[in-house]
Structures are given as C-alpha cells and as structure tokens.
C-alpha cells in the first residue's frame, strides 16, 4: 500500500466525518431554527400536560376530637373497550387469541360480581364504539371525520377502595378508573343542622361546611410536566410544581355524646307529641359554647338529597316564636337590677285593671287565680299580672332597654349564619296594652337561640355572650392555628342580681309551674313557657309553643338547656311547657349530670354514710 493512497484514504474519511457533522448541523438548524415553532407546538400539544392536584378538604371534629365530617376517596370504574381489542389483535394465532378471550371473560365475570352488575352489562361495555367530537379536535385517530374511539365507558360510580383493590388485583385488560373525593358524615344525621353538607358538585351548602369553607377547602396545586406515549407522567420533565395545600380541620364546640343525648330525647318528644318543630339547645353558660343543638325534623347528611327542605332548616336560628313566660326573666331581672323591688316585694296579682301613666290598663288573664304574690312567687308561679306590674315599675323605655340588653330584637351573631333577628318593637310603636303583654312574652318574637342565650346571661352572672360553635382551627398536622374564645356582648345584670334571679328560678321546679321536675342536689333553675300561637292574627287556644329553659346547678351553673316544642299535640289537654318540655329537660339533665360529671351542690345524707364504708 503506497503512502499516497493511505493519505487519500484518511482525507476521504476526514471529509466523510465532516460531511456527517455538517449534515447533523444542517438538520439541527432545521429543527432548532426553521421548523422550531411548528415542532414546539406539536410537542407541547402531544407531551405537555398540566395536572391539577386536588387539595384534601379538612375534617370537621367535635370538641373531643370525634370525626363529624371527613373526605373519603371513591372510585368511578370504567372500561376502555379499545384497549382490550388492541391487546387481542396483537396475537394473530387464533388458538392463543381464543385463550386470551376466555381468560378475560372469566375476569369480567369476577368484575361483574365485585361491582354488583350482571355479566351481560360488563360484556356490553366492552363492545368497542365511537363517539362524536368536534372536527377541529379530531386529530387523534388520523381520520378527520368527527368520530373518535370511545375509550371511557362507565361501569359503576362510588366504588370503595377495598373493592377497587380487588378489581386491580384481577389485572383486567381495559379497566380504567377515576378517583374522586366524596364527603362522608360518620354520624349520619348527628348534628346535621350544624355540620351542613357538600352537594354532589362539591359546593358547601349549609352549616359549618358552608360557613367555614374558607378554612376547610384548602388550595389545589398543579404540576406542569410531560407525558409519554402511554400518557404516564414523565416526572423528570416537571417544569413547575405548586403543591396542593390541604384544608384545615375545624373543631366545633359540640360534644357528640351531648348531641346524641338531646337528639335522642327530641325523637322521644316528636314521637309522643308530633310537633310542627322542636328544638333543644345545650350550652356552657360561662363560655357560650354550644354543646349540642338539635332540631326536629332532621335529616341524614349522607342522604341529604332525599330530605325535604323543611327538614334541613335549623329552626333554632331560622324560626321565630313568641317566648311566652320564659320572657318574664326580663321584667324580673330588670326590676331587681334597678333596685325597684326585692324578692320579697309584693304585688296584688288578683286585680284585673291597673292605672299606668294616666290610663287604666286591663291586665292579662292568669292560668289560675292569684292574690298577693312576692316577686319570688311571681317568677315561680309565672304570674302574668305580676310580670306586667314589674314592667310598669320600670316604665316603657327601661323595660325595652333591658329586653334589648338580653339580646332580643337583634341577632346573637351565631357563626353558622342564616339567623333571623326576631322582633322587638321600640316603645314609640307600642299600643296601650303592650306594656302589660310584652312582659309575659307576647308582642315580641325571638329565635329559640335568642331565648336560650337570654337565660344563659342569668346563669353566668349577668353577661350576654355570643353563642360559640367553633372552638379552634387545626392545620393538617394537628397544630392549632387559631383558637376561638368567649365573646361578651353586654352586661345585662349585675352578678349579684343574676345570682339572686337564678335562685328565684329554682322556685319554678321546687314549688312553681314545673313542680316535680327538680333533681335533688342539683338546684335546677328554669322557666316554663306556654305561648298561644298567632294564627290568622288571633291567639289560638289549641296551638301552643311549649318551652322550658333553664340551667343547673343554680349556684354554680354548668349547663344551660332549652327545650322548645312548637305545636305539640297533647291528647285532651293543652301543650303546657310543664307537660311537654319540662319532662324532656329533666331527662336530658339527668343524663348530662352523669356524662359531664357535674357534682351536686348538696350531697344527700346517704352518700355520707356510703363514704365511710371501707374506711375501717
């Protein structure tokens, strides 16, 4: 081999290599410069994807950490019939193909069993079909004919995780799925009006779900990346990633067991008296924390779509009733607070008329004839004429001012919203009889919660508090990020006067209108109410609102409890508060004493003897 040939060969190789490089360079120029925009568009369309990461909605818990509402994943199972067809088409051997078909059909039978469907329905879903799409979007299968392969035939919604695990284990060709989060309420109907619900679209409709949605919903995140031919994300090409921020947990003040106790009692009341509606509220007088609030009728949160709208109303805050005799705490408390009377001051409750500001006013009727009564007796026996005379001692303006201080005629600022204000007309709009009727709870209306909070003010030393339903907010790691404390709205009575009124209210169960409903050792203080309902502008003699609102123990109150029953049906009698509401109050109170471990104010003698046992 000559030296010149070798040299030529090397030159040839060098030129060849250079040409290759140049070809690559030219191609690169075409790819990177000339066709760049078009190629980028294609790549973007084919590979780029933005995946939204849904934030998990926070849970709702009760004060003891029991779950009241949480999110649970559910799966929508579907099939891609074309995936099976394509899988079978790969094998051209008829025998092998028949074997594959038989194997898949056996799995389909198991799938049908797991989903509770017929085998025929599953097989029908596996028949390949086409669906119509907009021609401008029809580029996926090559032919622009407005038709594309239908790769999503839904089999079943709301499949739970364990069932889906079994389906996945079968490794069935063409089975696909979509995971969605659905709100579940483990207590079913427990505290339904307080918790509220999310509808199928995921919109918070009522209750805590709606009002604390800002805390609960969290913030969705997103990932911008690329996908491969099998539409799987290629994580190495993630360009932007915004993590989802899960929602915070909302802790309510209610206690599931207290809530259950009052709901159980409400069911008994409803079964016995078939009322139009009934409400029971329990709260802590010192903080205003609602321990339980229940309404009849109610509904199951997991089946809210089957409940009539009437059952979804939180009557405790949306409906107004005349408070009746429970309103007498206004006149009695105000007169004591102003120093106009003492518990021993007496009034003639047998008179039928009285002179007031130069006019002779007819006093309201009494349920039973009274003579001279002390203020303590007026409260205990619920004298209408006595209450009217107490209000007259105060005068229109002062009486109205105290009614406002007790919270009547204004919302309680309850955090769940939807609350109505009630009606308390100012003295310039009163007629001549109002000063004698309003003290007995007529000519004024209020929500059950307003009445409850007014009594709570007597229990806690005269301070009107905002009813509290939210206790704290926790992040998804359980750390408390916001705590809600008691909020005082106004001082209604001096603490000493509130305590004095509380003692007067113990007379109601000891010797007054609810005699016999005392709980020995626990000083139940309360007030019955029986209001005639206004029907067609007239007070009905057959339709009443029965109520019993009180607290215990009177000298160191721990629970305020209200039982309000609208239009109860009492066979052969009137639906008095003592007949309809007081028994329920007592039954609930007995259970709460045990559950909340409320200590008696006075220890019965038998306990003293028992305490000595075992000491020697």
């Amino acid at each position: 081999m000559s030296k010149g040939f070798a040299s030529n060969r090397l030159s040839l190789l060098a030129v060849g290599v250079l040409i290759c490089f140049m070809s690559v360079g030219v191609r690169l120029v075409f790819l990177q410069v000339v066709d760049r925009d078009e190629l980028l568009r294609f790549v973007d369309k084919a590979r780029r994807q933005i995946v939204v990461e849904h934030a998990r909605r926070g849970a709702i818990l009760d004060a003891r950490g029991n779950l009241l509402a949480t999110s649970r994943s559910e799966i929508t199972v579907a099939v891609d019939p074309w995936a099976l067809t394509e899988y079978l088409d790969i094998d051209k051997n008829p025998a092998h193909r028949a074997k594959r078909v038989a194997e898949e059909q056996a799995k389909h039978a198991q799938l049908a069993d797991l989903l509770g469907m017929s085998f025929a329905d599953v097989e029908k879903a596996y028949i390949p079909g086409m669906r119509s799409i907009k021609p401008e979007n029809d580029k996926r299968d090559g032919a622009v004919d407005g038709q594309t392969k239908d790769r999503w035939v839904k089999l079943r919604e709301e499949v739970d995780e364990p069932t889906f695990d079994k389906i996945t284990a079968l490794n069935i060709r063409g089975v696909t799925h979509e995971r969605v989060y659905r709100r579940v309420y483990p207590g079913d109907g427990l505290a339904a009006h307080l918790i509220g619900y999310l509808n199928r679209e995921g919109t918070a409709v009522t209750g805590a779900e709606h009002n604390f949605d800002l805390y609960l919903k969290g913030q969705d995140g997103w990932i911008e990346s690329e996908k491969d031919g099998a539409r799987r994300e290629m994580a190495q090409f993630r360009t932007r990633e915004v993590p989802a921020q899960d929602g915070d947990d909302v802790v309510l003040t209610i206690d599931s067991v207290v809530q259950h106790i009052i709901e159980d009692e409400l069911k008994t009341v409803a079964a016995k008296f078939q009322p139009h509606f009934a409400t029971i509220i329990a709260s802590d007088p010192m903080t205003g924390a609602i321990l339980g609030m229940a309404n009849y009728p109610s509904f199951d949160l997991n089946n809210y779509n089957k409940a009539p709208l009437e059952a979804q109303r939180n009557y405790a805050i949306t409906d107004r009733i005349e408070p009746g005799s429970t309103f007498k705490i206004v006149a009695a408390g105000a007169a004591l607070n102003e120093g106009l009377v003492t518990p021993y001051s007496t009034f003639d409750c047998g008179i039928q008329t009285i002179d007031y500001e130069g006019r002779t006013i007819k006093l309201p009727k009494e349920d039973e004839p009274f003579g001279v009564l002390s203020v303590a007796d007026i409260v205990a026996h619920s004298s209408n004429r006595g209450a009217a005379q107490l209000a007259m001692r105060l005068g229109d303006e002062r009486f109205y001012e105290y009614a406002r201080r007790y919270g009547f005629g204004q919302t309680t600022a309850f955090e769940l919203g939807g609350e109505v204000r009630g009606t308390l007309a100012s003295p310039d709009k009163w007629d001549g009889l109002t000063i004698s009727r309003m003290p007995m709870g007529h000519s004024v209306d209020a929500t059950p919660l307003q009445i409850h909070m007014a009594m709570s003010a007597v229990a806690n030393g005269g301070a009107l508090l905002r009813p509290q339903i939210i206790k704290e907010i926790r992040d998804n790691e359980g750390n408390v990020i916001r705590r809600f404390g008691p909020e005082k709205r106004t001082q209604v009575l001096r603490p000493a006067i509130a305590a004095q009124l509380a003692q007067l209210l113990t007379g109601v169960v000891r010797e007054g209108t609810a005699k016999g409903f005392d709980i020995p050792g626990f000083e139940v203080a309360g007030k019955t109410g029986t209001t005639q309902k206004l029907i067609d502008g007239k007070y009905s003699t057959t339709h009443h609102v029965a109520s019993f609102v009180g607290f215990f123990p009177a000298s160191r109150p721990e629970v305020v409890l209200s039982v309000i029953v609208d239009d109860a049906h009492v066979t052969g009698g009137t639906a008095y508060g003592r007949v309809v509401a007081a028994p329920a109050f007592k039954h609930i109170a007995e259970q709460l004493i045990q559950y909340l471990d409320i200590q008696p104010v006075t220890v019965p003698t038998r306990n003293f003897l028992a305490m000595q046992g075992g000491a020697r």
């Binding site: 040299s7 995780e161 207590g187 259950h260």
Partner: protein
C-alpha cells in the same frame, strides 16, 4: 527548520478529530446516563409520592370507618344486639366520694400492713417492738 509534510498535518487533524469524537461521545454518553439517572430518580419520587398519597387515602378511609363505628347510635345498636345491657348510670346509683380515693385506700392499706398487731409479731410479751407512724393528709 524544514516544514512538516501535509499528510502529517492531516493525520494530526484526523487524530484530533477522533479524540474530539471520543471526548464528545463520552460527554454525550455521560449526559444520557445522567439524564437516565435523573429520570429514574424523578420517577421513583413520583412513585413514592403516589404511595404516600395512597397511604393517606387509606388512613382517611380507616378513620372514617372508625368514626362511623363509634357513632353513639351504632354503639347503642351493638349494645342491644350483643345484649350487653349497658346503660348510663342514674344519680341514685352513684356514690360520690368527697376525699381523694387514692389517699383513702392508701391509708386503709397502710393500717392493715403496719397495724400494731402485725408490728408486735416479734415480741414475746405481746407488746409491739416498734411503732409505725404513717403520715396522713
């Protein structure tokens, strides 16, 4: 000095080109290897994220089931179905102990253990050999 012949220059050029090719090739292979590693790490991360999400999902599922199982209504039904006869106590059944039960039981126990009779076991005359005084609150 005599200039180098032309083919020597070409040879050197080819040699350098080959060296460059080897160098760039190894760079390319290195880059591919690195991208492969990045890709595998990213996908492992994605799988782990998926597993974590799956565990959290299952945890939520279990929590929901536990919450449903301890719902007061369900517990009452269980109480009836299993005929346990459990019910909340009534006040009449409750004996309230004012003092600390631990202290009272400790005192009772101490009296038994350190009683005069037991302390006098070693004494022949029946008199206690020593006296134990326990502190009572």
């Amino acid at each position: 000095m005599k200039p180098p012949p032309a083919h020597a220059f070409v040879n050197r050029l080819i040699g350098l080109t080959l060296l460059l090719l080897v160098f760039s090739g190894s760079l390319g292979l290195g880059a591919v290897w690195m991208r492969q590693e990045i890709s595998q790490a990213a996908n492992r991360g994605r799988l782990l994220e998926g597993k974590m999400a799956d565990v959290e999902r299952r945890l939520d599922e279990v929590n929901a089931e536990v919450a449903a199982a301890v719902n007061p209504d369900v517990l009452l039904q269980q109480n009836q179905a299993m005929r346990l006869g459990l019910m909340s106590p009534r006040e009449v059944q409750v004996v309230r102990v004012g003092e600390s039960p631990e202290l009272r039981l400790a005192t009772k126990r101490n009296r038994e253990v350190f009683s005069l009779a037991s302390a006098s076991l070693s004494d022949q005359a029946g008199e206690p050999a020593f006296r134990v005084v326990t502190a009572l609150r």
